[in-house]
Structure formats: C-alpha cells, structure tokens
C-alpha cells in the first residue's frame, strides 16, 4: 500500500512538471532548430541566435526590459525600504492607512492599475514612452518591496537601533550599519520580487508606453500572428539567465554557509 502511494506520488509530480516544463523545453529545443519550422526539428544551428542579435527591434526591447527592470528595482527598493523603516515609527492610523493604500496595486487587477496610470499620464500631458513606463514600474514594484521588508522591520528589536546610537552612531549610521543589515533578507526578497515583477510585466507596460518604446512582453504580444523562432532564442537566453540567477541565489548561499560552519568548527578545534 505504502509503496503504491509513493509510486503514484512520483508519477503525479512528474506529470505536473511535464505540464509546467513542456512549453519551456519546446522553446529551448526549437531555438536550436536549423529550419523555421516550430514542429519539426531538422538539425542543430545557432541561426536564430545570430538573427536575434541582428534584430534591432528585439534587441531594443531587451534593452528596455532589462534597463527598466534594473532602474525600477533600484528605485523601488530604496523607496520601499525607507518607507518600511519609517512606517514602523509612525502612529498606527498613518501606518494602517498607508499600508492599505500600498495594498491597492497588489490587490487590483493589473489592467485596472494600468488604465489608471494611463489616464494619469495622459491627463498630465506626459508624453508616453520610456519615462512613463519606468514610473509605472516603480509604482507597482514598490508595494511588493514594502510588503516584504515591513515584516522584517516590525520584528526588529528596537534596542538594536538604540544600541547603535548609544555606541555613537548617528541616525544615518544607525540606518546603514545596523537597521539595513538586520533587514537584509527582506530587502533581498523585495529586490527579487520587484525585478521579476518588472521584467515579467506586460499589462501595465502595454498601456503606459508609447512612441514605439517596447519591452520583450509587448514585442511577443504583437508578434503572435507570425511565429518567429528568434523569440524562442530569446526565451532560451532568458531561461538560462534565470536559472543561473536561481542557482546563484540558492546554491551559493548554501555552500557559503557550509564553508562558514566548517571554518568556525576548524577554528574551534585550533583554539
């Protein structure tokens, strides 16, 4: 009975993962296809990768996606972190109000957030393009940073900051040398979330952009009618980058911690 259950478990998980990963595997495989066909693999080639690099429209979109994600993440992280720190020191009324407002973009369907921003930019006569896209990305990424940093700030012992000031640290030094290092895990989670949210976004970017500024999602959306293997090449690169990032993010800290443990143990033995 038990063995039976285990077999079923493994089989079921395998099927689900197949479902998740089939599209991804298909993209990767066909990105190396030598023909334009998306159904018959006729031979290995890097043709679509060279075409990808030569395709100025797609490269421009890659540049937009990456640079917006980096800038939006940087701004959202700073803004979100200082807000989370400040929040915990304010009166409950203000705290609760701001946190509920902060939840609006998280709860609201993307499309509602998107058209709100679209109307805002056009009624303020701001020309739609790179800047509006960046502003919009900061607007929807910051709430995620706040929600991941704020709990860390709440659980922070007040006396740590007091201890720093007691030892001569100015408020700014206390912020940089004690508070921020203590809430680092929350900030990292916020950065990761903000970056993926921004990089993955289609709906909001689609509505607030203009003047031919496109990110990867918009290009793919506009390309559905003509199947284009260069998109597979692009996807493969994106997947590779994400996998590397995930490995760096998960495996490296684990190895680092193990090494550190070992080192401490060795030192203890020496002592």
């Amino acid at each position: 009975m038990k063995k039976h259950g285990k077999l079923f478990s493994i089989l079921y998980i395998a099927l689900c993962f197949l479902f998740f990963y089939v599209p991804i595997v298909v993209m990767v495989v066909f990105s190396f296809n030598s023909s334009k066909s998306l159904t018959n693999f006729s031979g290995f080639s890097l043709r679509w990768y060279t075409q990808l690099i030569e395709d100025q429209e797609i490269m421009a979109a890659v540049y937009v996606s990456v640079s917006i994600a980096i800038f939006a993440t940087a701004i959202a992280t700073v803004l979100g972190t200082i807000t989370a720190i400040g929040l915990s020191k304010n009166r409950k009324v203000l705290r609760d109000t701001l946190l509920s407002i902060n939840n609006i973009p998280i709860m609201n369907p993307d499309i509602v957030t998107a058209i709100g921003l679209m109307i805002l930019f056009s009624s303020m006569m701001i020309a739609k393009g790179y800047v509006t896209m960046l502003l919009a990305h900061v607007a929807f990424c910051t709430p995620y940073v706040i929600t991941s940093v704020y709990p860390k700030v709440r659980s922070l012992d007040d006396s740590l900051a007091n201890a720093a000031m007691d030892l001569g640290a100015t408020p700014f030094q206390t912020l940089t040398k004690v508070i921020i290092p203590s809430i680092k895990p929350g900030i990292y989670a916020g950065i990761l979330l903000a970056f993926t949210m921004s990089f993955d976004d289609f709906v909001i970017s689609y509505f607030v952009t203009g003047n031919g500024v496109q990110n990867i999602s918009i290009i793919v959306y506009n390309m559905t009618k003509r199947t284009n293997p260069t998109i597979n090449a692009l996807s493969t690169i994106v997947i590779a980058v994400i996998l590397v990032a995930l490995i760096v993010g998960n495996v490296v800290p684990a190895i680092y911690n193990k090494r550190k443990e070992k080192k401490v143990k060795m030192e203890e033995n020496v002592n």
Partner: protein, 276 residues
C-alpha cells in the same frame, strides 16, 4: 529613532500621486462623458447602464465561467500536487516547490507563446497524431487552449498556498485522528483538508481573480474573437477610444475584486481558528 519617522514622507506623496489619483481619475471618467477634453465634461450614469446591455453581460458571464472552470481545475490538480509534495522529506519538498516556482520567474508571454507551437493545427501534438495515423484536432482558438494556458500559468498560485498550510500542519494531528479510529478518508477530510482550508481559500481567490481579469492568454491562445472582461477594457482604450466606458468596466472589476477579497478575508478569519 524619532528621526526615521520622516522616511515615510516621500512615499506618502508618491502613493497619493501614483495610486490614489489614478483611481480617482478612473472614477471620474466612469461617471462622465466627453473623453479627454475637460471642456465638455458632463456627469452621467450612461457608462454603467451600457454594461447592462446583453452583449456586454455576455462578456462578463463568459469571463466568470472561464474563471470558474480554471479555478476548479487548478484546485483539483493543485491540491493533489501540494498534498503529494507535502508527503516528501523537508529537503525534497524545498526542491520540488522550487521547481513549481521556476516557471513563475519566466515571462508569461514567452511561456504562452510556446504553447502556440505545441497546440496549433500543424503543431507538435497534431504532427504526432498524424504520424501515428490519427486525425489532427483543432485545439488553438478554443476554450480548451485558453483554459490550458490559464491553468499552466496559474497552477503555481494554487499549489504554493495550499502546500504552505499543509506543511505547517502538525503531523501528529493526523496520527491522532487514526489513533481515534478515523478511517483514511475520514482522517483526510476531517483533519488534513479542514486544516488546509486557509491555503485553499488563498489559492482559489488568487487564481480566480487573476483568471477573470486576464487578457493576454485569451488573446494569444483564444484569438481575437475571444472577448473577456480584460479584452473588453483593452478594446475601449486601445482601439475604440471610449475611455469613459472602459473606466466604468474597470471600476466595476475593481469593486468586484474588493468584494471578493473582503469575503475571503472573512472566511479566512472564521476558518483561521483551526490554525491554532
């Protein structure tokens, strides 16, 4: 520490400008006509009345039906997956959950795009079918392809909260249930499932809300004729240019969300007692 109080000020201004004002603008647009020119602005409830027209009601019904189907499929598949994962060792669980989340990191558009080449009339599945001598099936631009795309995209949102509540559960409770003479099924239903309800509620809300407001997947896998609430709003803003009507639909969608989130919060609180 008092000095840090002022750190919230930039965000107060920011959130007012980029969260509150846009919402107010949507409200303003939804109750006026005259589009973008402030000169001939006029208050009206016409936009909301228009939503009541059968053709638009149909769009809402179709969206809800699709959302419901997607949610039910996700719940069935996702609950079993979460339950099965939770039966492994903690290390294995962490790795399996990581594999569930990896697709979420990859651009939705790119993943959905890949389904096209799998499902299309001369796609991978159909080439395989012809190869073994069967007739090809039309899958693209049907309910099937849209639901498949939605389930693939949203399943992780169901699995993760359910897995979280299952893995938090005290295993001894189930043993206790067996000990008290419960059958396998009873033990599952009365203990495991009852205690995982908060996760289920979370997952169901998330999947349902995301699926009724989506417009990318229906457009890519359902084609242009597949109009859901999201596509309806998109059309008003992008092709038709009736921002007032578009705002009214958006406002309605936002209010629906708010209601649903509040209801689930209440449910969560009632069920939350089981957490302790």
């Amino acid at each position: 520490m008092r000095q840090f109080k002022n750190l919230v000020k930039p965000y107060i201004l920011w959130s007012f400008l980029l969260i509150i004002v846009p919402l107010l603008l949507i409200v303003l647009y939804s109750v006026t006509t005259g589009g973008n020119s402030l000169v001939n602005i006029r208050f009206t409830l016409e936009n909301f009345k228009k939503i009541g027209e059968p053709i638009y009601i149909q769009v809402f019904v179709r969206s809800f039906r699709l959302g419901l189907i997607t949610t039910i499929i996700c719940l069935l598949l996702g609950y079993v997956l979460a339950y099965v994962i939770a039966s492994f060792s903690e290390r294995a669980q962490a790795i399996l959950i990581l594999f569930v989340t990896i697709p979420m990191w990859i651009n939705t558009l790119l993943r959905t795009y890949a389904w096209i080449s799998i499902l299309s009339d001369n796609g991978i599945i159909n080439s395989f079918l012809t190869l073994i001598g069967l007739d090809p099936i039309t899958m693209m631009y049907t309910d099937f392809s849209v639901i498949l795309g939605l389930v693939c995209d949203l399943l992780p949102f169901m699995v993760i909260p359910i897995h979280t509540s299952l893995s938090k559960m005290d295993k001894s409770l189930i043993e206790a249930a067996y000990d008290l003479g419960a059958h396998r099924w009873q033990a599952f239903w009365r203990v495991t499932f009852a205690l995982s309800i908060p996760g289920v509620i979370n997952g169901v809300t998330m999947v349902f809300l995301l699926s009724i407001s989506t417009f990318v997947i229906p457009k890519l896998l359902g084609g242009g004729q597949y109009v859901l609430i999201g596509n309806l709003i998109e059309n008003q803003f992008v092709s038709i240019g009736d921002w007032n009507f578009g705002s009214a639909i958006s406002l309605l969608l936002a209010i629906l969300m708010l209601l649903m989130i509040n209801i689930t919060k209440k449910l969560d609180k009632q069920e939350g007692g089981g957490d302790l």
